[in-house]
């Protein structure tokens, strides 16, 4: 589904990614771990197409298309979803309207008619129930005045509504208490299907108790330096990132 080959990227002339290689197949859950400042968020931004990040070499192929040629919104319409570490507040725009707009734009891209209001509302109800979300949440303005946990739940709710092929969750566990973490993880697990894939970016092993990855990568100094099964996360937790340093 996603193939990243020898990716180099920089911001403001500073090189952050120094030759990333990654292969994610449909049906898989990947975890990318690593200490702060090693390029985890940069990798997610480059995949999602954030302006200001310059790809100096390498390629990203997503479902056979060269992702680097597409705009941010085109990538989203192709099925990329980024769950933000720090979701942005949009006062005055309710989650309902925001999502309906997003869904309809994605449908327009695919040549489909706008979603009928009835179907949209039914879908919202279903996903809210699935994620154990409060009813009121969706009438509120996007992230405005939300607690850290509510913001992250809202990210997962958007993911559930947009049904992406590839979801990248950037530090979704940061700042969450155990209950919120459980809800977020349950959501991710319930949304898992043979035809989609998830990349979880995390600093700690904690989230991986709830979302069990098929593949674990360690990103260090702009490169993936180690790849293994779920046991790699445990080993990393036990031995710390110093252990990785000594290995390279």
């Amino acid at each position: 589904m996603l193939t990243i080959k020898n990716l180099y990227a920089s911001i403001h002339g500073k090189e952050i990614l120094k030759g990333v290689n990654l292969e994610v197949n449909a049906g898989e859950v990947h975890a990318i771990m690593g200490p702060n400042g090693t390029g985890k968020s940069t990798l997610s931004y480059v995949i999602a197409g954030r302006q200001g990040y310059e790809v100096t070499s390498g390629e990203i192929i997503f479902k056979g298309r060269n992702l680097l040629e597409l705009s941010t919104e085109e990538r989203a319409c192709e099925g990329i979803f980024l769950g933000f570490q720090y979701p942005v507040e949009i006062p005055g725009v309710s989650i309902t309207n925001f999502l309906r707009t997003a869904i309809n734009e994605q449908r327009k891209y695919k040549g489909l008619d706008p979603i009928p209001a009835k179907d949209f509302l039914a879908q919202m109800e279903e996903k809210k129930k699935m994620l154990e979300l409060q009813d009121k949440l969706t009438n509120r303005s996007v992230n405005e005045g939300f607690s850290g946990g509510e913001k992250k739940k809202n990210e997962i709710f958007q993911m559930a509504m947009l049904e992406p092929s590839l979801a990248i969750l950037d530090e979704t566990d940061s700042g969450l208490d155990i209950d919120a973490l459980r809800i977020v993880a349950t959501g991710v697990n319930k949304l898992r299907r043979p035809d989609n894939a998830t990349v979880v970016i995390t600093h700690y092993q904690r989230l991986l108790d709830y979302i069990v990855p098929d593949v674990v990568h360690v990103l260090f100094d702009g490169r993936i330096v180690k790849t293994g099964g779920k046991e790699l996360a445990l080993e990393l937790e036990e031995k710390g990132y110093e252990w990785i340093k000594s290995q390279i």
Partner: protein
């Protein structure tokens, strides 16, 4: 300087007109009107038209607007005008008590004053001069000083009619009163509209002022409204401006507030050649509170200027200013919020905020939040921001599949929403909300009739915003 000579020319024309009128129409003025008129005229001769060299007019240049030949309508229009024909309000479920001015004159000439069962009087100011001289003379010209502002002096010198509203003690006016100022003329017009609103004690009024033009001639509207808000009374005031490019609109509001009174005034400027909003508030009784809001969305070569002056004269009052604007193309804006906390006005709370988004590097805003404090036990703050659309928010919205253009509209809408949400009349809020959306989508031009009369397809909209329909 050329502009000065122009001002002088127009000024001398007005001077000649005044002397001519003085012999005829003004000769029959009742004494307090005559006194105000004569004083105002000599003040106008002394002050003339404002120019950008004056501190209060820095950033707003009227010279081009004054370099136009205007007709000065001195006669009332014909006997009866069918308001229904020229004006229809189509805001769904918006029941209002409608009073209209046509070219500065009260429209319903046959019944110039309506006295309602609850004691409320609504109608022509000219008629009120005659019928209620004691009541009117207590307030007329008392708050809009002609000493320092040439345009206030000009208005008072020439004003003959406008809207008069009186609400006695202990009355809550059930309907929203809608004051519509219609300009319909084959000629370029200069108007001096004058309104007076008086509330007794413990009374409540909701008022919507709409400015409209029908024929797209050059107009120079110099409107002055005085409000007296008695003890424990409240006024909820809205001012909607959706004029064409040829219009210059000077809208001056004066609020005199007694103890325990509340004011909320919201200026919504969507279109216009030059718009100048002066809002002057005197907090003259303890525990009174004024919220002054404004939102402006300007593009092309439009210019908007919001001047607010709030005097905290006594202790324990609150004032709060929130103005937000988006300027596109070559549009320019001025914000000047001047709060004066006088010596004895202890325990004052005064807050000012002005936030702007400039969409191009040609658009400009000159913002000056300004506090002048002579008391020591006060809580005051002021702040201004000028920026572009937030890059993080743009990325967030686009990452959901929403196009760059729609993401921009969504963010602009979100920016304006803070002020629009302050509107407490639900039907009006919905309507303004629709208008803001239309404006941001570039669909809102001048409606043929009222600023509220849009042939709205969005009435069926179930959702607040759906930018996919753009």
């Amino acid at each position: 300087m050329r502009d000065l000579s122009l001002e002088t020319n127009l000024k001398s024309a007005l001077e000649a007109l005044f002397h001519e009128r003085n012999e005829t129409f003004y000769a029959s003025d009742i004494p307090f009107v005559a006194k105000a008129r004569q004083e105002a005229f000599s003040n106008f001769i002394r002050l003339g038209f404002p120019n950008p060299r004056l501190e209060n007019w820095r950033g707003t240049d009227l010279s081009k607007a004054l370099d136009t030949t205007y007709e000065f309508l001195v006669e009332a229009p014909g006997d009866e005008i069918d308001v229904e024909k020229i004006f229809q309000c189509e805001v769904p479920h918006f029941e209002t008590f409608l009073v209209a001015q046509l070219n500065g004159w009260y429209v319903y000439r046959q019944s110039p004053l309506t006295e309602l069962a609850n004691g409320v009087i609504i109608g022509s100011l000219a008629a009120a001069f005659e019928k209620y001289p004691e009541l009117v003379s207590k307030h007329y010209g008392k708050y809009a000083s002609t000493e320092k502002e040439g345009l206030i002096a000009l208005n008072t010198a020439f004003a003959q009619d406008g809207i008069f509203i009186y609400v006695p003690d202990n009355v809550t006016v059930p309907d929203v009163v809608q004051m519509v100022n219609i300009v319909d003329s084959e000629q370029n017009l200069m108007l001096q509209a004058r309104n007076l609103v008086i509330l007794g004690n413990n009374s409540h009024l909701k008022l919507v002022q709409c400015d409209d033009s029908i024929n797209h001639r050059y107009t120079f509207i110099n409107s002055v409204s005085e409000f007296y808000i008695g003890k424990d009374s409240s006024v909820d005031h809205y001012k909607l401006q959706n004029k064409d490019e040829h219009s210059t609109l000077i809208n001056s509001l004066f609020f005199q507030m007694e103890s325990g009174s509340n004011l909320s005034s919201n200026s919504i400027s969507l279109n216009g050649g030059i718009i100048r909003n002066n809002t002057d508030v005197k907090l003259a009784g303890e525990n009174s509170s004024a919220n002054i809001y404004g939102v402006y969305l300007m593009d092309r070569n439009q210019h908007v200027d919001n001047h607010v002056r709030i005097d905290h004269l006594v202790p324990k009052c609150q004032s709060n200013e929130l103005f937000k604007g988006i300027l596109d193309d070559h549009a320019s804006g001025v914000f000047n919020g001047h709060v004066i906390v006088h010596k004895d006005a202890q325990q004052t709370n005064a807050f000012q905020t002005n936030k702007n988004i400039l969409l191009t590097d040609k658009a400009t805003i000159d913002t000056k939040p300004f506090l002048e404090i002579y008391a020591d036990d006060v809580k005051c703050s002021h702040g201004a921001t000028v920026g572009q659309l937030d890059a993080d928010a743009m990325f967030y919205i686009r990452s959901r599949g929403i196009s760059e253009e729609n993401a921009r509209i969504l963010l602009m809408y979100a920016f304006a929403a803070e002020v629009v949400n302050k509107i407490t009349i639900p039907e009006l809020r919905q309507r303004i909300d629709d208008m803001v959306k239309k404006r941001l989508r570039g669909e809102l031009s001048i409606c043929d009739q009222c600023v509220l009369h849009c042939s709205s397809q969005e009435k069926k909209l179930t959702f607040d915003i759906d930018v996919t329909r753009i």
